[in-house]
């Protein structure tokens, strides 16, 4: 594969780091401060997009920044998988900035400068993970993301926020310092390198105990992926302001976790090695448990954000499931779900935030009839929910289709049943919300109901855009599919 040396991946990471300085300098001028976030998001997105022709042309873009220790470089390497994730994350950062302006100003939140700076660094880290050229670089950005998102999770600085933040750090840092570091060391000692390679760096013939052990340690170590039983930080982290939940806990943070797992499966182990050591289907079945269990728990949650959180946990495992099937269509579906789920879930979180801004309500049971007052928000919510369920013409349908085909290719009826059951469960916990919002009468004594208005434009526009994109991606998934073709073995 042809490799182009270009500083662009580093520039993309650098953009938002530079923005942090500007954001801090203009802390007294909110409009200028938010302009920097927009500008950085725009530049970052353009830089990322400008890499597309090369990647679609079957090339790899690489850039080595410096050498830490011989054999351990700090370097970037852009392939289709990384580009897909970076495109999604950098685009959604722009949208989320707009949404944040509406949300944070409507609720008159405190410490907004800290909020926007941490957000920018978090984005740098996410892009850094996407473009990482080896495990060390990935580990560096992965850890940076854990630390820098802590102030965002604990933004409200009350007892709940501290509790959520503590759990967040304990799970993410604790597991990455233990399992992930051990896995990296074992990988290095066994293979002699940390660099990602298209077919993986583990080869059939290496000690099977070490290969299996390190794989398990990787799965445990990337706790951001929210695989059960290491998921409970995610619902706790929902104490964060909604834009944080939206971008970080539906897109950047959890996706960094899943992305890392996918990256390790494809570029550290490789499908052949995983198949040779029989690690594919067991992983698929292991995450199947998460898919079903998280959906069942979601059914029981009355808090909208909590329900979305468990839905996220369930959907994340789809991605790992797809890749673990080790068949072309499974991998297609899994990787495609990274971006599909990102757009759909961010829409849902935006809607939850919009409802909170307009009504200060968090509980689903209080949302009867709300669709009449907030038609745009709830329409977008419906689109997002349809995508989660997998209704055709919404983005989720495409990825689920490939996942189902992949499971048949892999000859596993069990996985197919899990997918179907999960679709039913998704419908069971999303459709009642839609039903309540549009068809139920508001409770008779609800005096506030008459005063509910649609949220400000800065809140509604972003969620309308992401909902629209969700539909577009359901009808025209070709761009991302073309990228994924480059990743197939």
């Amino acid at each position: 594969m042809e490799t182009i040396v270009s500083i662009k991946p580093f520039l993309a990471v650098l953009t938002s780091l530079v923005a942090v300085v500007l954001i801090c300098l203009s802390s007294k001028k909110p409009n200028l401060r938010e302009f920097w976030s927009f500008a950085a998001g725009g530049i970052m997105f353009l830089v990322v997009i400008s890499l597309t022709p090369a990647i679609l042309g079957g090339k790899i873009v690489a850039y080595r920044l410096f050498t830490l220790l011989p054999g351990i470089d700090f370097k970037f390497r852009v392939d289709a998988l990384g580009l897909l994730f970076a495109t999604t994350a950098s685009f959604l950062w722009i949208i989320t900035t707009a949404y944040s302006i509406g949300y944070m100003r409507s609720l008159k939140e405190h410490s907004q400068t800290r909020y926007y700076s941490c957000f920018a660094i978090a984005l740098s880290s996410a892009i850094g993970v996407a473009f990482a050229g080896n495990l060390f670089t990935m580990y560096f950005f992965y850890e940076l993301l854990s630390i820098i998102t802590y102030p965002l999770v604990a933004h409200h600085e009350d007892a709940d926020a501290w509790r959520g933040g503590k759990k967040y750090v304990v799970y993410l840092v604790g597991l990455s310092k233990t399992a992930l570091l051990a896995a990296v060391v074992i990988t290095y000692m066994t293979t002699g390198t940390l660099d990602f390679a298209p077919g993986g760096i583990f080869r059939p013939g290496m000690p099977s105990l070490l290969v299996t052990l390190s794989f398990i340690l990787f799965i445990i170590g990337f706790a951001k992926a929210g695989i059960m039983p290491l998921h409970s930080w995610l619902p706790s982290a929902m104490v964060a302001p909604t834009p944080v939940s939206a971008l970080l806990h539906a897109v950047a943070v959890v996706k960094v976790g899943v992305f890392s797992v996918v990256r390790v499966m494809l570029s550290v182990y490789g499908t052949e090695t995983l198949a040779a050591y029989g690690l594919g289907l067991p992983t698929a079945f292991f995450v199947s448990f998460t898919i079903i269990a998280a959906s069942v728990i979601a059914l029981t949650k009355d808090d909208l954000k909590a329900r979305l959180a468990y839905s996220t946990i369930s959907q994340l495992s789809y991605i790992i499931l797809g890749v673990a099937l080790l068949t072309p269509d499974g991998i297609r579906g899994g990787i495609l779900h990274i971006s599909n789920h990102a757009f759909s879930k961010i829409t849902l979180f935006f809607c939850a935030g919009s409802i909170y801004v307009a009504t200060h309500r968090k509980k689903i049971s209080q949302m009867d009839g709300i669709g009449r007052k907030m038609p745009l928000t709830m329409a977008a919510f419906t689109v997002g929910a349809f995508s989660m369920i997998g209704v055709p013409a919404a983005a989720g349908f495409v990825s689920k289709w490939y996942l189902a085909v992949g499971s048949i290719e892999a000859g596993s009826v069990g996985v197919l049943l899990v997918l179907l059951a999960s679709g039913v469960l998704n419908a069971a916990y999303f459709l009642p919300i839609v039903y309540r919002a549009f068809f139920k009468e508001p409770p008779p004594g609800d005096t506030e109901f008459e005063h509910i208005k649609e949220s400000p434009y800065f809140v509604v526009m972003p969620l309308a855009i992401t909902a629209a994109i969700t539909v577009v991606m359901g009808i025209y998934p070709d761009y991302f599919l073309a990228l994924i073709e480059r990743m197939l073995p």
């Binding site: 410096f66 050498t67 830490l68 220790l69 011989p70 054999g71 351990i72 700090f74 405190h110 410490s111 060390f136 580990y139 560096f140 850890e143 940076l144 630390i147 604990a154 409200h156 600085e157 009350d158 007892a159 926020a161 501290w162 503590k166 750090v169 304990v170 840092v173 604790g174 310092k177 233990t178 399992a179 570091l181 051990a182 060391v185 074992i186 290095y188 000692m189």
Partner: protein
């Protein structure tokens, strides 16, 4: 720097000059009267000393393991004792570290010490000279002289300028260290009897019988492991740290503990290779205990200074572990970890001192407002906490990963224990940081309301870092990231010497490859 080293005195006697500058400085300080002048003079002396140490590193020849900047003169002819100085790739780093911490210590005690400033600065400078002597001495008697000379100023620093419980702490420090020194003295006499010389390098070549090696190893091991300190000799350390003034703590953590580990590399490994191999596993086990036990002790502390002190026990466990893995990655990791620990823990003690100066309490329950009221301080503390827990991109990570790799080469399951230690390290550091910076919202320290505005006692505003403190912290931050992002500039210096050390321990056949090697 080139012009510098062209001055004849500096060219031929650089090490002597580096050692003498603080000593002469101390002598001159004696005649100064005003506290202000004393402070500035001490700062000038220590800065000059640091500037002199820079060409030592820059002009150091990295391609050889031989001793450099050697100075050799007869001293006591009847016993064949010499004034014999020189540095190799290992000791040059610690000479540099000592010189670096020197002026930071003066800055750290600028306002904190307001009684008997002259005496304090004199002690500090004599201490400095003695430590530099330990790292550059190549004659056993000279080494022992400097070793013991470190002890008196340290005793004074803690005993005169320390906290409320200082007498207890100094007594404990005295008893432990003196106990160790006696064993070392016996060891030195035994060495002289067996080898017939006090020349360190000659003694290394001698080749002793196994029985003698075991005997002498035990004697020196007790002396050095008390200084490190290794479990179970560690109990003097928290007492001394907690009572010591900030500068005392920085020296104690930054350099004094290193002299013990340095002794391992100068005496135990090269002179008693068979015994080192023989005792390798027990020492590794003791290091593991230190790592885990020290971390648990740190986890349970409410006193910030004690917490950092116990973290030292844990971190020095990594060092001794690395050294006794007896492979290249382990030893290089151990050495770089020694350097890191000097930087990071020194910086953490500096941070403890700063917040203590402002609040006169070290109880973590009384903090919790740093992020709000002193943001720059909070950021600095964050950097050092992350460095201490081995965050990638900081110095701690480099040491950790090298030792991890070394431990894996030695025995795969070692990694399990180490990982547990690393995780505990992250736990107590983050937990400490949380309690210093954000904890008030949990209602411990507490004048804050629920929205998180206006924590802390508004009547006594706490000021953020002063320029003097910024300079001290910046020096540490530079090295945190320098080692973190470009460890090769430090590893390159030690490669040859570590290779030589390994040849001495494992025999010439064991040219074990290293990831940082050639």
């Amino acid at each position: 720097m080139q012009a510098f080293s062209d001055i004849p005195v500096l060219k031929d006697h650089l090490l002597t000059v580096i050692i003498l500058v603080p000593l002469v400085g101390a002598f001159c300080t004696f005649f100064l009267r005003s506290d202000r002048v004393v402070r500035w003079f001490a700062l000038a002396v220590s800065v000059v000393d640091f500037i002199l140490a820079v060409p030592l590193v820059l002009n150091f020849d990295r391609t050889t393991h031989g001793m450099q900047f050697v100075e050799r003169h007869g001293w006591i002819p009847s016993l064949n004792v010499q004034y014999y100085l020189g540095v190799d790739g290992i000791s040059v780093l610690f000479v540099f570290l000592t010189a670096l911490l020197g002026w930071i210590c003066v800055l750290a005690s600028w306002n904190a010490i307001d009684k008997k400033v002259r005496d304090f600065m004199m002690s500090l400078q004599i201490m400095q000279a003695a430590m530099l002597g330990v790292f550059s001495a190549l004659d056993v008697v000279l080494f022992y002289l400097c070793w013991e000379a470190m002890f008196i100023p340290m005793y004074l620093l803690i005993g005169r300028w320390g906290g409320a419980n200082r007498i207890y702490a100094t007594l404990k420090f005295f008893l432990y260290t003196f106990f160790g020194s006696v064993f070392m003295l016996v060891g030195i006499v035994a060495l002289y009897n067996a080898g017939g010389t006090f020349d360190l390098q000659e003694l290394m070549k001698h080749g002793y019988t196994f029985d003698f090696q075991v005997f002498a190893f035990a004697l020196f091991f007790i002396a050095f492991s008390i200084k490190v300190p290794m479990f179970p000799f560690h109990t003097w350390l928290p007492a001394a740290h907690v009572e010591a003034p900030t500068a005392g703590s920085i020296i104690l953590a930054g350099v004094l503990l290193k002299t013990g580990a340095y002794g391992f590399m100068r005496f135990l490994l090269p002179m008693f290779p068979d015994a080192s191999q023989f005792f390798s596993t027990p020492v590794i086990v003791l290091s593991f205990i230190a790592i885990i036990y020290g971390a648990f002790l740190a986890l349970s502390q409410d006193d910030m200074k004690k917490l950092v002190a116990y973290s030292s026990v844990s971190h020095m466990g990594f060092v001794t572990l690395g050294l006794f893995l007896l492979n290249k990655n382990g030893i290089e990791g151990g050495i770089i970890q020694m350097f890191n620990h000097g930087i990071t823990t020194g910086a953490l003690f500096l941070c403890v001192g700063m917040i203590y100066e402002r609040t006169h309490t070290r109880d973590l329950k009384d903090y919790g407002w740093a992020a709000k009221k002193v943001p720059y301080y909070a950021v600095s503390l964050l950097i050092f906490s992350l460095a201490s827990m081995g965050f990638p991109g900081t110095n701690g990570f480099v040491g950790e990963i090298l030792i991890l790799i070394g431990a894996y080469e030695n025995y795969k399951l070692n990694v399990l224990v180490l990982i547990a230690g690393i995780m505990l390290g992250a736990a107590y550091m983050l937990w400490m940081y949380h309690r210093v910076s954000f904890g008030a919202a949990e209602g411990h320290g507490a004048h804050g309301d629920d929205e998180g505005h206006g924590h802390g006692d508004e009547e006594h505003p706490v000021r953020d870092l002063s320029p003097r403190e910024v300079v001290a912290i910046a020096a540490f931050v530079v090295f945190v990231f320098w080692v973190g992002f470009h460890p090769m500039s430090f590893l390159d210096i030690m490669h040859e010497s570590v290779g030589q050390l390994l040849t001495q321990v494992n025999g010439p056949a064991a040219a074990i490859s290293s990831i940082a090697g050639h």
